[in-house]
Structures are given as C-alpha cells and as structure tokens.
Symmetry: D2
Subunit: 283 residues, 4 copies
C-alpha cells in the first residue's frame, strides 16, 4: 500500500503547512486527509495529522523519513510517520465480563479494526473459549494483591515475546503497577464504566444508582499512574430513569462501554490520536 500518515506537534508559526506540503509534493504524494489544530490563544502549540498517498512509498519509506528530519528540526517538531500497511500488534487484557472483548473480536473479524490481535491475557478462565474460537492465544495468569509483581513480570515477558504495541484493558479488573504503566506510555487503553470525572474508582454503577443520576456513561482513556485520571479518548452516555436498578444500569452501561472502547481502539490504530498533556486531540 502507498499510504503514509504524519502526526506532528510543534510551536505554532507561519510556514509549517507550506513546508510540509512542499516536502510531500516533491515525492509526488497526494494529501488524502489533513486535520490540524492550534492552541494559539494558550500554549501556542500546533498539531497536524496528514494522511497521504505516495506511489513510490514502498521503495522510499526510509529515505522519506530521513529527509523529513530537516523540516522537523527547523520547526522543533515532535513527530512520527506511520504506514497503515504496518499493522499494529495488539493484546487484550480481560477479567470476567466479556462484552467488551466480544465487541473488539467481532469488529476485528468484520474487518473494521485494522490490527493483529496476537494475545489475550486474563486473570480468569471465562474468556478462554471465546478467544480460542478465534484462534488467538489465551494465557491465564491468576492475579492477587500478593503476586502482582510476578504477574506483571510474566505479562511483560509475554508482551515482549509477542511484540505487542497496544494493550487494551477490556474490563480488566486489576490495577497495574507504576512500572508497568511507565513502560507503556500512551499504549494502554482502558474503559472505565462511568462518565469521568464522575464516579472515579470502584463500583461506579452502584454509586450512580445511589446518587440518582438520569444518565449513565462510559469513558475510555490512556492509562497513567493516576487512577482513572489519564487522557480521555472518548465518552458517551445513555438515559436511565428511576425504574433502572443497579442491574438495569449495568445492562445499559455494557452497551455504552463496548461502543466507546471500540471507537477508541479504532482511532488509536488509525493513528488519529495525539496526546497533549492530560488531553487527547482526536483527528
């Protein structure tokens, strides 16, 4: 495939787009999609995502990357150039609730998620049958507060062995250690079953029920070492009323969780997300 994707962040100033587009034009690349954003009234940062089609890309990937360094330095860019044909390798972590992993597996099977799901890790056996029916390796690593260190050592070896580039916590009910999180910056996506920042932490549906809210929600975010405080990728809500008890809220919530998580994973795989401090820019 001839597609490439540029993700850039740099201080805003005139001439950035002119330089990038002239550069791409030299390679006869056609810009397919381009989105930009500037925080000019605040920090003065400029963000851009450019998807381009370049006939000679397969032969010139490395040259293009190397030659782009000149522009990147001139404008002090943080940047990456990716190629959709380099499909990202993904691992799913799951516990006992299967609705989120099911959604991901089916979106993937339908061709709507461009990824290789190379490994599923769980602290329970519940997902094994489902996962193995897709011919995906399933590894059961029982977890408890006592053995967290061993568990993560095991997990990290597996992630390395399978060359995993994205970890999706599809209702994985274990807290990760700082070491694990720091080893995977902006590469772990979690789904939290509330509309953050409401109901951070455990049992959000119980607390939503007690508070008598009229909408419930779900939030996907990159995992950082502040519980449920990482950069939000996507959120959604649905209506509930007094008739919905905690179980009813959970049922409704499941359908929000799975669609919010699936959208986030899709955007990450398509390199549509730039993390800016504790926020995301989704192009």
């Amino acid at each position: 495939k001839n597609r490439g994707c540029l993700l850039i962040r740099c201080p805003d100033q005139p001439g950035i787009i002119a330089s990038i587009s002239r550069f791409l034009f030299q390679y006869n690349a056609n810009i397919i999609e381009s989105s930009q954003y500037s925080t000019n009234h605040e920090s003065g940062n400029f963000f851009i995502r450019i998807e381009f089609d370049c006939p000679s890309l397969p032969d010139q990937k490395e040259e293009i990357k190397t030659r782009f360094l000149g522009i990147a330095e001139k404008f002090s860019m943080e940047w990456k150039m990716t190629f959709p044909s380099d499909v990202k390798r993904m691992s799913i972590f799951v516990s006992k609730e299967l609705h989120c992993i099911r959604e991901l597996l089916f979106e993937w099977q339908s061709g709507d998620l461009m990824t290789d799901i190379v490994l599923v890790i769980s602290n329970h056996e519940d997902a094994r049958e489902l996962v193995e029916s897709f011919d995906i390796p399933f590894v059961h690593i029982p977890a408890s507060r006592e053995n967290r260190q061993d568990v993560e050592t095991h997990q990290m070896k597996l992630l390395e062995a399978y060359a995993v580039e994205l970890i999706v916590l599809a209702r994985y009910m274990q807290i990760l250690t700082p070491a694990f999180v720091e080893a995977n910056p902006n590469r772990i996506i979690n789904i939290h079953h509330s509309f953050l920042p409401a109901f951070v932490g455990a049992r959000p549906y119980d607390r939503a029920y007690q508070r008598g809210v009229k909408l419930i929600g779900a939030t996907s975010h990159y995992v950082t070492n502040d519980l449920d405080e990482g950069p939000i990728i996507e959120q959604d809500t649905m209506r509930v009323d007094h008739r919905d008890n905690i179980d009813g809220m959970k049922k409704i919530g499941r359908s929000i969780e799975r669609s919010v998580l699936a959208r986030s994973v899709k955007w990450h795989l398509e390199d549509r997300i730039i993390v800016d401090g504790n926020k995301t820019i989704v192009f």
Copy 2:
C-alpha cells in the same frame, strides 16, 4: 376543568390500586394516565401518579379529598391531590446570564408551561428589560456576602406577598442560606452547568476543559443544603472536542442548560415528580 392528579407514596402491599381505582370509580372518574413504581427489592415503597377526569370534580373537590383520607390512612400513604386548573405561581431568580430565563419565558408565552410567572428577582439589572417586556414584575436586590441575611428577608417577604409556590434558579449565582432552603422544601429548582456529580461547585466549564472531557452536560435538581447535591430531576449531555475552548463549551452548554431546566420546570408544574430521599421519580 375536570382534571385531578393523585401523587402517592406508601409501603407496598396488594390491594392499593384496587382501592384507589374503586374509589375513583365511585365518583365516575376516568383514569387518564397512571404510572407506578415499586422499590420492592429494596425499601418496599410504592409510588403512583394517577391523572383522572371527573365530571363532578368542580363541585366535589373538597368531598373527594376528605373521603380519600380513609384509604390514605389504611395504607399509610403520604399523598397529595392536585388540580391542574389551580395554576401554580412561580418566581424566577436570575443573575446576568439570560438564556435560561429567556427559554422559560418563551415556553410560557407559547403555552407550553402551565404556570403564572408572578415575579422575577435578580441581583443585577441585566434581565429587567426582557422581564418587563412580558409585563412581569422585576425586583432588583443587589447581593453580596455581607448582606445575605437582609437580601433573603426581602426575598422571602416578596415570595409571600406574591404567594409563590415554585422558585426557579435560572442561573442565579448566589448561594441560598439554610433557612431559606428549609423554608422551601422541594420547591426550589436549580440548573447546574455540569453533568453532576462531576464538577460540583464553581466554574464547571473551566474544569471540564482542563480535564479534557468529550461531552459536557447540565443538571437540574431540587435545592437542598448540600451544594449541588439535591435530588436530580433531569440531565443531558452534548459532544465537544479538542477544538472547543472554554467559551465554545459555554455556548454549547447554554443550549443544554436551557432545555434541561425547561423540562424540569414543566414536570414539576404537571406534578410529575415525587422526591424519594435524595432521588426523584419522574412519572
């Protein structure tokens, strides 16, 4: 008009509906709308709202109320019987932002709010022209932390003089004292410009922006002495993205605030809301 409305809460047991419906049948009343709810798995409370049409109602209001006492006692009911033809008298409190009061005035002018808006009180002059163009009395009572007691004494005299039954805080940016709140239980509706319980307190849009949320919301609730903690009546959300700065969020938020508040006021006026502890049942 021949319409009546019964709002009841009592311990759940068989026979309640049979008794009520037999009672109404004796007066040849036709049940127009009936909604019920039972918390049987928890507290065992039963709630019902019945709207009925009774040809002899105008002549028998008092008799019907008196004779219903027997049933009410038998089932240990908390209840009230209201008549849509007794239009509720309402006062609006407002500060400088006018979008919410405007919405209420226009819904009212269009005939969509069955109420008499008898008085508007504000700590600023901004709403005067708008309010007086509807021939509604507007009273400006400047407010500050120092004179809160005097202000509320003045307000309460006015509310009494105008026989106000419902107070709507349409972006009124002053905190009410416990004495004022306790004197008006479940009779003060506030609109809070966030999706509660997220962003309780001041400057919710600023904080929503800092947190990088992907939806913003508004919440209407009855006012209690816990700030932004009263029983929620209605909530709604709308999508935002990284391009929406604080001002953009406020613009989007205004359209949520006004529709959420208008719906809540409408439901209150139609006697559709039963407060159950810190929750509402909206029939």
Copy 3:
C-alpha cells in the same frame, strides 16, 4: 415463577382498572408494573399492560384465565394473559450479513434475551459456523425467485416442527409471500436499514448517500404484506457527514441496526408490544 402479564385492548370507559385490580387482588396478586394508554381524543380505545406477582400462580393459571373471561366480556376486551416462565421459542432468518444475528446470539448468551433460540434458517452458508458454535440447529435452504414456494413450504414445516412462536429476520434478504406472512401475524420482526418511511425498499444506504442526508437510521417493524410498511417497533439514527461514503454509512448503520433489532426482540419477548392498526404501543 409467580409472574403473570396481562395485555388488554378495549373501548375506554370508567371502571376498567377498578375491575382488573379487584380481580387480581382476589388472588392476592401484587401489581409489579402497570402501564396504560388511552386514545380518548380519537378512537376511544384503552390499552393496558399489567405485570403481577401471584404466590398461587403455578397452581391457578388456568382458573385465573378462565375466571378473567367474565371481566373481558363485560368490557369487550381483546386480551391475552402470558407467563414469563413460558419462554417463547424463536427462529432467526439470516442471509450473508451477520452483525444482527451475532448481536442477538450474544444478548441471548448474556442472559439479556429471555427466549429459546431453537432454529436458524438461511439462504446462505455464511452463518453456519457461528450458529453451530452456540449448539443451535442451522438449516441452509437456498432461495431464488423460482423456488420461493418450495422454500417457504420447507420453512413452514420446520417452524411447525420446532414450535416456533417468533421469527426474527436478521438481515434476511428475501421477500416473504403473503401466505407466509398471513400465517404469522405480528410474529415476524424485520430490521430495515433505513429510517422509515425514508428509503423504503432496496439499497437504502446507497440512496441515503446520493441524497446527502446528515443522519442515517434503522427501523424494526412487524412484517405485513406491504413492503417496509408494517407497524414500526423501534427506530434510531446516527450522525454522518460528507466524508462518510456508502461503505462508511454501512459500517455506522450496522451498529444502529443491531441495537434497534435487539431492543425490539427484547420488548416482544417481554410482551411489551401491542399492535394497534399500523402502529405499536410499546409499554
């Protein structure tokens, strides 16, 4: 289980609810949920759904039904009394697109659809593996315009053999004959991939794209002999924009289709739907 459900339609008049509730009270039944609707300004019809809990139900089902006949006759009711413990037997018809049947199978597996899925019939082989992985019989009946009669004869024999009470067309791309439809009144649910009555018939996404709509939708309805004209059960829409080509619309549409269909089937299984002419009342 002690649960029963009454669905009634009759001419509106005072005393109906009093009679029903007194009747249920005689059997010591507690009314769990009750919803009613009256078209009093138009046809004067009254509709009610009552769910009740009756300790002696398992022993008295037949007696209760028989004795209710008196009330039913007095008020000229069309009615049925059902029991959630009598789980409905359901068959799914499917062609090549699997997202709808998948959703139904998973909702069912998660315990969110109270039904026995006893049979899947398809004019293609695509769904076989999925269906058989749930241990549900899958029957492939190739279909064409020429053999429609034979196909339906075969289908009807199977439906009878499996005692099917509900047929769900989960993107089944064949038109049923009038004979088949008339043999299954209000017992066939179809999902149409547009917001009816827009884009009746074939290729709705193509036509939505050509028309440049900004929202696309899906509609579930009972099948009648007027193509896509049967009583609508549920509809929903999602936002699209100029970037969404036909394939993009189909992807978005799939997620609307499956949730709209799943909700409709759930409501049918819980006896929440009364068909009134060409409309549905969903309680």
Copy 4:
C-alpha cells in the same frame, strides 16, 4: 480584523495544498483552521476551506485576491475569498409560527450569529411585535396564490434595497417561484419540519403520527426548485412514543427545528458550507 477565509473546489491532484500554503506564507499569513475533503474514488473533486490570520490583510485584501487568480487558474478552481469582518446581511421570512425566528433573534442578540439582520418579511402580522422589539424593520406583505407575482416583486425590491445576502425561511409557509429561487442560488435556507426525505411536503407531523414513527426530525436545506429536495445542510431527530399525539409531536419538533436551523445559519455565515451538486460539505 486580520482574518480571511478561502473556499475552494477543484479537480484533485498533487500540489494544491503546497501551492496555497506557499502563497499564504508569502503574505506572512498563519493558517488558523484548515479542512479538506476529496471525492477521489468518485468524481475526483477536491474541496478545501482555509481560515487564516494575516497582519497586513486590511491593506492588502485586493492585492491578495488578485494575485491568487494565478493559482486558481492553474488548478481550475472555483473559489471565493471572504473576510469575517465583512458581516453578511440577512433577511428572515416568517409566517405565524415564531419559535424559529425567536431562536435566531436570540442567538444573534447573544452574539452567537455574526450577521446583520436587516429585514423581516412576513405574510402575517404575528411576528411584528417581536421583531420590532429588536429594532429590526418588519414588512407585512399579505400573500395568496393569486398575487404571488406581485408579492415576490415587492420582496425582491426590498431585498435589493436592503442589500440582503442571505434569506432564511424560518417557517415561512409560502412556496417561492422558480424565478425567485434562481435569483438567489444557495442563498435561501429553509427549515423543513421532518427528517427528509421522509414526509416531503405538507403536514409532516400529521403524517409522522399516522405512520407511527418512533423518532421525529427536522431538516434544513438550501432551497431549489424541487420542493424539499435542495442540498441538506443539517438534520436532527428526537424520540417520540405512542403517547405523543400530533400536538405533542409539534411541540417536540419545534425544539428540533429551531436548533437545526440556527446551526445551519451559523455555518453559512461562517462560510463553512460548500454546495456540491445536491449535497453539502460542511467544514
């Protein structure tokens, strides 16, 4: 103000963005917002909207426009360059229903619509008081089938006298003649009270009610000479159920109509809309 806006349509080919951005860079212009779209798989057309900030703009408007001609010719562009400081002059046409004009007037008063509302024309007197309270000229031109020609002659003279650039039909219940429409291409925005293409023509809520739909909607579009067939700008829907009769649907519909229309007018005023055949691209 130093802001400018470029709207371009041309055949797609490499180098367009490079040329435009180099051109703007020569004037030291900073690109504030840029959105593009390419129909490469179909017609091969390219569309772009660029908003830029240029310190020397006030002195160089004409020079910049003239010099851009070279690029425009090279790439066979249809284009326009506009300046937000040249506020567009707008006229509202209205009949008896006032909710849409009210919304526009208040969005305008709140500073959310950058326009001069210079004239309101109506075939009734209902809106006069409202309009004149905003110090906007109101002209009553009674309309009937017989005098359509005279009415439009009168209207067109007024539009010319007031130099009107955008006509908004805010529930104006008269059909415009082909001559009038052709004189104002893509400059007349209408709000239709249904989710087009469902319920084209008169009495959409009545027909929605008869059909038993579960959602109702509204559609804004540019007016062409095919009734309700012009390019759609925006649509939205809200949920209804069997309890909503025609009046109830109208109430709900009014709130959809006014927000859909206000958004469309805002986008038009900000030069965010490109008409492409019978579709719109909204950037």
